[in-house]
């Protein structure tokens, strides 16, 4: 336990032990900068695109809208990254899966 005190004199003082585990999705700015920033328990305010624009129907035929929520690899972007609210994320997931089945969206693209 005495070893930790000299570390605080040299390295970043604000990080706790939890910072070293390298948990992804830190204070919203990207996981790479995590250990350097103080660990705050709020995320940068991200709004649900569907709630804001009042889009009710998430149609599987609308591949352009759905394409905004899939990664380059074709995976569905998680809610914590896209900022979509839960009910819309569920409908979005179902629509993306339907679109995948009818070859409007890929199951898996070439990975970078």
């Amino acid at each position: 336990m005495a070893d930790e005190t000299p570390r605080s004199a040299t390295g970043p003082a604000a990080e706790g032990d939890a910072g070293r585990t390298g948990r992804p999705g830190g204070p919203g700015r990207g996981g790479a900068g995590g250990p350097r920033e103080p660990r705050k328990y709020f995320r940068r305010k991200k709004v649900c695109k569907f709630c804001v624009e009042k889009i009710d129907a998430i149609d599987y035929k609308d591949y352009r809208l759905l394409g905004q929520f899939i990664a380059e690899s074709g995976k569905i972007v998680p809610r914590r990254l896209s900022g979509v609210c839960t009910p819309h994320q569920r409908r979005l997931g179902r629509a993306i899966k339907q679109a995948r089945n009818i070859a409007l969206l890929p199951f898996a693209s070439s990975r970078p």
Partner: protein
């Protein structure tokens, strides 16, 4: 009690237009003969597929909107499965979704209407409030 379904299918890209028309009308006749109604047929044109389907990179998309019972759609699907030019199809039931959308729309309309009447009364008072300073309400002389 009729349900609404969207049946979307992909036809091989090297199919001629008239053959496609023949196929569409044959399916439509069968569906109407079985007691359902084909509300709309939409030819969405040739599109590049997101992945290889039966060796094809492109396909012609067709959308049927059918209103009827489940058995009719089941039979339509069976026909699509058997038809050689059709390479993929999907059926989605949409009447529940439409019901929900109608409800949302009505809710929004009623909310807007309700707010509209309130805003109208506010609007009548607004000129008075803006002309004089908001502090002076009853018989306010020019306090400028």
């Amino acid at each position: 009690m009729n349900r609404t379904y969207e049946v979307m299918f992909i036809v091989r890209p090297d199919m001629a237009d008239e053959d496609l028309e023949k196929l569409n009308s044959a399916l439509e006749n069968h569906t109407t003969g079985a007691g359902a109604a084909v509300k709309h047929i939409e030819k969405m044109g040739k599109r590049r597929l997101a992945y290889l389907v039966r060796g094809f990179h492109e396909g012609i998309y067709v959308l049927f909107i059918v209103e009827g019972k489940g058995e009719v759609v089941h039979e339509l699907e069976r026909r699509l499965r058997v038809t050689e030019p059709v390479i993929k199809f999907i059926t989605v039931r949409v009447d529940e979704e439409h019901k929900r959308l109608e409800k949302m729309k009505k809710l929004r309309e009623s909310r807007r209407r309700g707010q509209g009447t309130h805003a109208a009364t506010l609007g009548a008072e607004a000129p008075v409030a803006t002309a004089g300073e908001p502090t002076a309400t009853p018989a306010a002389p020019a306090t400028t």
